[in-house]
Every structure is written in structure tokens, then in C-alpha cells.
Subunit: 512 residues, 2 copies
Amino acid sequence: METSVHCKGNERSERFCHFENLCYHNEHKDFIFFMANASMIENVPSDSQNILDLSSVADHTLHFFSFLYLPSETMTDFTVKWINRRSLIFNRFKPDNIMHILHDDILPLHHTLKQIKGNFKLNRNTQEKFDIQILTFEDWPDDIEYQFLYDLFSRHDMLTVNSLKKMGELVCFSDVYVGISKETTWYQYGFYVPQGPVPNSKVTSSQIQDTVNYVLSHIDTECTLCNLGPYLVLLSRKETRRILNEMDLSISIAQHIGMKVLSVSLETHSLVDIINLIRNSKGLIGMHGSLLALAIFLQPGSILIELFPFAINPAHYTPYKTLSGIPSMNIYYANWVNTNEENTVMHPDWPPELGGISDLKDQQEIMNQKEVPKHLCCDDPSWLFHIYQDTIVDINTIIQLVKTMLTASINENTSEKARNIVAGPVRDLNCVTEKNSIRVKWKAPWSLRYIPHKTVQYQLFIFNTQLNSTTSFLITNTIYTYNKTEATYSFLVWVQCQLDNLKGYLSNLVKC
Amino acid sequence: METSVHCKGNERSERFCHFENLCYHNEHKDFIFFMANASMIENVPSDSQNILDLSSVADHTLHFFSFLYLPSETMTDFTVKWINRRSLIFNRFKPDNIMHILHDDILPLHHTLKQIKGNFKLNRNTQEKFDIQILTFEDWPDDIEYQFLYDLFSRHDMLTVNSLKKMGELVCFSDVYVGISKETTWYQYGFYVPQGPVPNSKVTSSQIQDTVNYVLSHIDTECTLCNLGPYLVLLSRKETRRILNEMDLSISIAQHIGMKVLSVSLETHSLVDIINLIRNSKGLIGMHGSLLALAIFLQPGSILIELFPFAINPAHYTPYKTLSGIPSMNIYYANWVNTNEENTVMHPDWPPELGGISDLKDQQEIMNQKEVPKHLCCDDPSWLFHIYQDTIVDINTIIQLVKTMLTASINENTSEKARNIVAGPVRDLNCVTEKNSIRVKWKAPWSLRYIPHKTVQYQLFIFNTQLNSTTSFLITNTIYTYNKTEATYSFLVWVQCQLDNLKGYLSNLVKC
């Protein structure tokens, strides 16, 4: 019995591997690859450590995956417990925080499971749980609060590295995928450069909606409050980073907007209740914080108002703004930051992890800052100090923001049109050389009559092969005569159809 | 009903896409993506033409895949024939040539099908045909000679673009993959740079063996001749690029080596017979040509002798040498080139596609060449002229080559050892700072006792953080005292275990 592996991806942060007969040694805490001549090792260097990221957070040294090699004959030296169900091993990144759970684990997990199953939407209607054994390999405790979110995805109880220990010396997986998709992630936390959007993120709103729909189909969506007319949800923090005039804010918004405001918090509501309330709301208002990640559950056309304490530059902390800006998410986002130092309440005496700075020499300097300097994750004292301030928010300004965003969402939503459809290439492109001119003709793309549009134009490109230069003309006809300045010139021509100024496919090239 | 797509790969030559509800318009010869708001478009630009290569030959303009967009509502305007079986669309590259069939189509196809099925070796024992509808989209005729090779891979009759025409206006695939793996290819044909090995090819011998085993399990492997003692196979070409003293060569090898030589050709044997004969042989001898691709069917430890006509530099045409050199293929390869102009027979009067040059001005220049200059594919007159020469081969030299290779294969095969297994990281690495020295200790990797080896050494690395320089020592102990030249120096240390001089994994770093 030997191990084999096939990986996709050309470098560590892109790699995802499928093993046959991968084992884990409980005592030594090592994965083992039992090597024989029949072992297949595909698309991964056979002698490298740290071949992939176990979590969706790229290049985090605590989440690298490695295995040791042993000769396959030695497998008989061990007591083996076999897991023969198709399995997936990955690391949760920070499963005590709902933002991290959703962004780092749940969305990537669902995407990964769909990939493994080999379909992406076929699951849509049945929404069956996946028939896969999930093993999380980091050593978070087995009883984390939001475990139920992970449990939505598999018909089988999740294994943790702790639970493996009870299984004996060696646990072997006959058919196991290792790693987790990064395709749905949109934010990086500042381990190497200050936090910000993932460059070239591939996430799409339909991926997020697909996971949201999956989650909603597996939780209890009964919600009495949800049906009592339109409302906004105000996320309330009870301990830190509080809105000190929260009650006033809530009442004032309700009065001026004419919409109920439901105040929710993890202290007073279950996560499932909050998800349902958000799902059925017109939008979400709250201090910057992990609960805002629940904005993924907002309906398209909802609003999201993010509030920041004094000295925090909203442009530097954009996980929720970035989320709202994913094309077709259709979340109307605005933020407000406290610029009035009198309205902030500082807590220099709190413990350092809650922003306390009483032990620091530069305490006064931090307290005098007007803006937190850019910083890396995860324990910058200035950042922690300022983000944990309480704030008396500017109610009038926030009401104006809410009004503006609601109006924008209503206007744009009613005028919302179908996704743009580009024209195909023109047909039968033809170019005839005459003495002092060339005559170019073509036919409209055949698909034109199926695509709603107001205007059709053609961009005709004429490349002079002697002069090495391109001229182009935007015309409405399908014929064009171009005068040659020299009789010997020759040309390459091509055409691009534009519907309502949207550029379509390029035609082939023709010579004349 | 809308279309969706999920792609893997970040650029065209790497891309492989999975569509839901992709349609093909027979009259306009266009694939159609029916766009709606619910369409998922993942990991592919939504407005680009030519999104992937349909064949395994990278960047070939005749094999790009594109589709047009239409609004999803318009699907009802068409007569639709649905194909609801999971399908695969790809292009064969040149299915009239056995080298191209195997390298460009069959190996990539098998690899792709395993990927789609989500396993890579699980198929090994049952060797069932794949439950997938294959559609080849290039327009080779439906009745190609080696169709049976493609038919080994699916339980369902292959569709061609021709066969789609009979199905009506629109043919829609509810679940279809588009593209084909390039992971198993090892050779490029010189479309952009002169032909040669694929840079950074990912092919492995186990991939090739897996496909070979699959093919052998699906063809008739009865072979009477195969059991009549050890023999070599001599590939015989009857029309072009002939060995003019083939009979002498065959008899002489048999006499001097003491092994039968079976002469085979497509004119006298079926392809299946040739495959069986090669599979059971000790090796293969033949003029450079596509039949040598059947070397994939050689057993590990076999020999391959490739012969070249006059003026052909073997170093420039290496598909079979490259194949033989894939790690663990274990094919003992040598080549011979005719360097004696008197032993070549030229055919300047043949048609140009068979190397005729009678219509060319530089006819004499080509005939005088001592080496074909490097060139691109596919119709270089000098290349075609020289490769189609007939040759009187140097029998004695070839006999020596055969002898040498057979001896090498026997010697190396009997001494062949298991695949090298690298040691894991050392354990409990510890570094203690003393006044004028540091003392580093560690324990051997736990896996050591399971890995056969003769010697164990440790490379100890000591990085001086002040001087920014690394020293290293190769020692057999697991303890080392290193003298500091300055008491204030501090260090990072790590250790790498070497078994029989093979470098193992790096340990973690410790400071002192």
C-alpha cells in the first residue's frame, strides 16, 4: 500500500492536492507519505517541505502543510486506523471571529467542496450536504461557538486533529484532498503589507450568493420580526467600541427615515437570528467590526453604513467596503468616521489586547495622534488603542448618509438592467484593393438580432503594413472606402462591433 | 435557463473550464453562452475571446475556444437538442499521426478524464471506461484510422462537430468540460521556437504508465510471437526514410546479440499487434518517426535506438529522447546519425511535402548542406528534404549501441534501488548560549529508523545575526559547540539531516 499525490497549482499559495493513502502519525504529529515505486507524485516537487497553505490566508507560516516520507514497506510497522470516506483537510484561520469564519473558512470551504464534487451550481436546488469527511488540522478547541456553521457543509461529524488522537498510532486517509480555495477571498490582513483588498481577487458576487443561499437553506429561517415591515439593522456592541448614543441614533433614524431600526448584538441575539434579521432588512449600520461580515447576507440593493472611531482612517480598513464593491453585490456602502475628538472616549488603562497603552513609554504620543499610522497585523498599539475607543456618533450626518444610500439604492435598482452582452464578431469581412483605395465590407454579427440595443456602431481598424501604423474609424455603415496615399500600400483590416458603445469581439483579420 | 462557467488556470494556455448549459449553434458554428443575472462566470474574463486552448498544443491559433453571449431569454427562439450526460469538448491535434495521437491526445485525454472524475489512481484496478460524452471539435473526418484509441476511453460513442450537425439548430450541453490537460506533454513542435522539450514539463513516468496500463487493459493483448523468447523490435518504414540495408541490419543484430529481431510496420501489422510486440520486447530500433512514440509501451529497463538520416542533428529532434529521459521511465536511449554522405539516397524530385525541392531555387544549396539549420514547424524545405532521405545504416556501430544499451539496462536494473527517501527534520533542536560559545543539540528525525540508509550526517547551519553571515558544518554527532569570536554575537541555528548524502528536510530555526 503506497501513497500517491496529484496537485494543482504551480506554487505554494496556489496549490491544492489530492492524496491516495495519506497517513497521519498522532504521536509525532506528522503526515506520512509511504513511498514506493508505484507512488505517483504529480505536479509537486517530491523533496519539498511546506508544499501548500492549509488555510485560505496566503503564505501564513503557521498554516503550511508538509509530510514526511517513509518506505511503503514500513506501513506494517504501525497500527493503522483507516478513513475510507473521501475527505478534506484544511485549517480554519481564526474560528472565534465571525468575520474570519465567513471570509477565511466558510466561503472558501463551500467553494472547495463544490470543486471537489466537480460541479458548481448543480447543487443549487437540492442543496444536499456534502458527502465528505472534513478534518480541520489547526488546534482550536473542539467546542468553538460557531461550529454549527461548519457543520452545515458535511453529512458527517467534523474531525479535528484532537479527535484523531483517539484513533491510534496512525490514521490513514484513502482518498483525501488537502488545502482550501483562495478564490473567494477578497481581503488580506496585513501580515506582509498593511491590510487591504486581495490584489486581483477572483471572488464574484454569484459565488457569495451561492454560499449564502446554501447556508440559508440549512439554517432555521423562521423570523417573526422580519415580516413587520421594512427595517434597518443596527449592530450593537455592548463592551467595546461602543456607540455611546446608540439609543438616540436608533430613534432618530427611525423618525427621520420612517423605517424601524432593530438593534442586535451577539449578547442579545443568536447568530442565526441575526442572519435572518439582516437577510430580511433594508440594510445594516454598525461600528467597524467582525459582525459587519454578515453583510454578505444582505439582499442586493441593501445599504451598509460603517462607522469608525476617532483617528481611524476608513480608507485603511476596508474589508466591508471591498465586499460591497464586488461587482453585482449591489450593496450601497458608505462610512462615517468620528472627526471630533471631544466625542471619543479613550481607554488607555484597558489590557493591551483591548488597546490599553498604560505600560507604554509613548502613551501620550499615541493619545495625541490624529490618525493611526499604517501598520501590519496584529498587535499595533496605536491601532488597538484607537479602534477600541467608544464614540458619540454624529446622528445628523449618519441620518443623511442613510437617506442618501437608500435613495441611491432605490433609484439604481429600479433602473437596473440586465448584464451587458457584447456583440460577436462581424461576418464575411472582405477587403478589395482598388487603384487608389481599398473597399472594406462586412455583415453584422448574426447574434445582433437577439441582443437588445439602441445603437450599433462599427470600429474599423486599418493597419498599414508598410508604415506600421493603425488608423481606425467609428461608423454605422457596414461598408467603407479608404483612400490610399500611395498605390503600393498594403493593409490588414479588422472590425469590432459596438452595441450601445460596448465593445464587442474582434473579427478575424483580412489583407488587402 | 442560463449558462454558467467556472474555469481553472490564470491564462489561456492553462485554462480549463466547466460549463453548465453551454450551447453550440450548428449553422453559425459558434458556442453560445446564455447570459442572465444568475449566470456564474468564475475565474475567466467575461468579455474575452479565445479563452482557452482546445488542444494540448499551447497557443495554437487554430485551436482557441471562444463563445458568443446571448440574453438567456432568447434560448426559446431556438430549437434545442439537449445533451445531459457529463461531457468533454477538446480538439485532437493531428489524429492521422500516431506520435501526435499519443502525445497530444491520448495521454492528455486520459489525464483530463481522471481529473474530471476526481481521482487519479482509484480507477487502477477496475479500469472501467469513463462515463463521459466526448466531443472533438476540430474537423478531422469522422472515420480516422486510429479512432479505436479514442474509443477506449468512453462508454459512449464519440461525437465530432460533424455529428452535431444532424442534431438540429442548437445543441446544448447541461454539464460540460472544455479543454484538455497539458500536464502530460513533454514536447513542443516548433511553432514559435524550434522544436524541443516542453520547458518545465510536469509529465511523470507514472502518468504515462497509468495510461499505458489503461490502454493495455482495453485492447486485445493476445500475442503468440511475444512468448517465443527475448527479442528486439525493428520498426520498418516501407515508403520513405527507409533503412536500405534493413534485412542485413536485422540479421546482424540477431547474430551478434543473440536475440531475435522482429521487423514490424504499419503496412504489415495492425497497431494493436505492434503495441503488443513492443510491450513484450527488450527494446525498439527505428528511424526517427512517429512510430517511435510507441516507446511509451516499452517496459521499464528496455532500450530505444533512434536512427537519423544524413545532415539531421539528433540534438534538434528529441521527442523520443526526451520521453526516455523522463525520470523513472527507465528507457535506455541512444541514437545514431548517418555521417557518411555516400550512404544516403536523396529524393529531390519527390513532392514538396515529402521533401522534394525540384521547384526551389536553392535546390543545390540544400543538397550540399551538412546539417539542417534550426527551423520552425512545419514545412521547412531543408528539413523535409533531409528527413525523407533513405539510408544505408552502419550496422557495426548500431550493433555496438544495442550491446552497450542492453548491458547498461541489465546492470542498472539489477542494482536498481527504491526511490530515494529524504529524512524528516531533526527533533528538539536546542541552543544554549555560554560565555564564549554556543552549544547546539538535537535529536535524530524520528523517521530515521524506518528509512534504510548507510550513513547519517547532519549539516548544522549557524547564522550570525550581527555579521549577517552563515557558517555550516557537516557532522555525525547530534551535539556541537561553536566558539563565539565576540561575546555579544547572537545566532540563528538550524539543522538538516542527510541520509547517504541525500539532503533531508530543514529543521525549524532556534535563536541563541
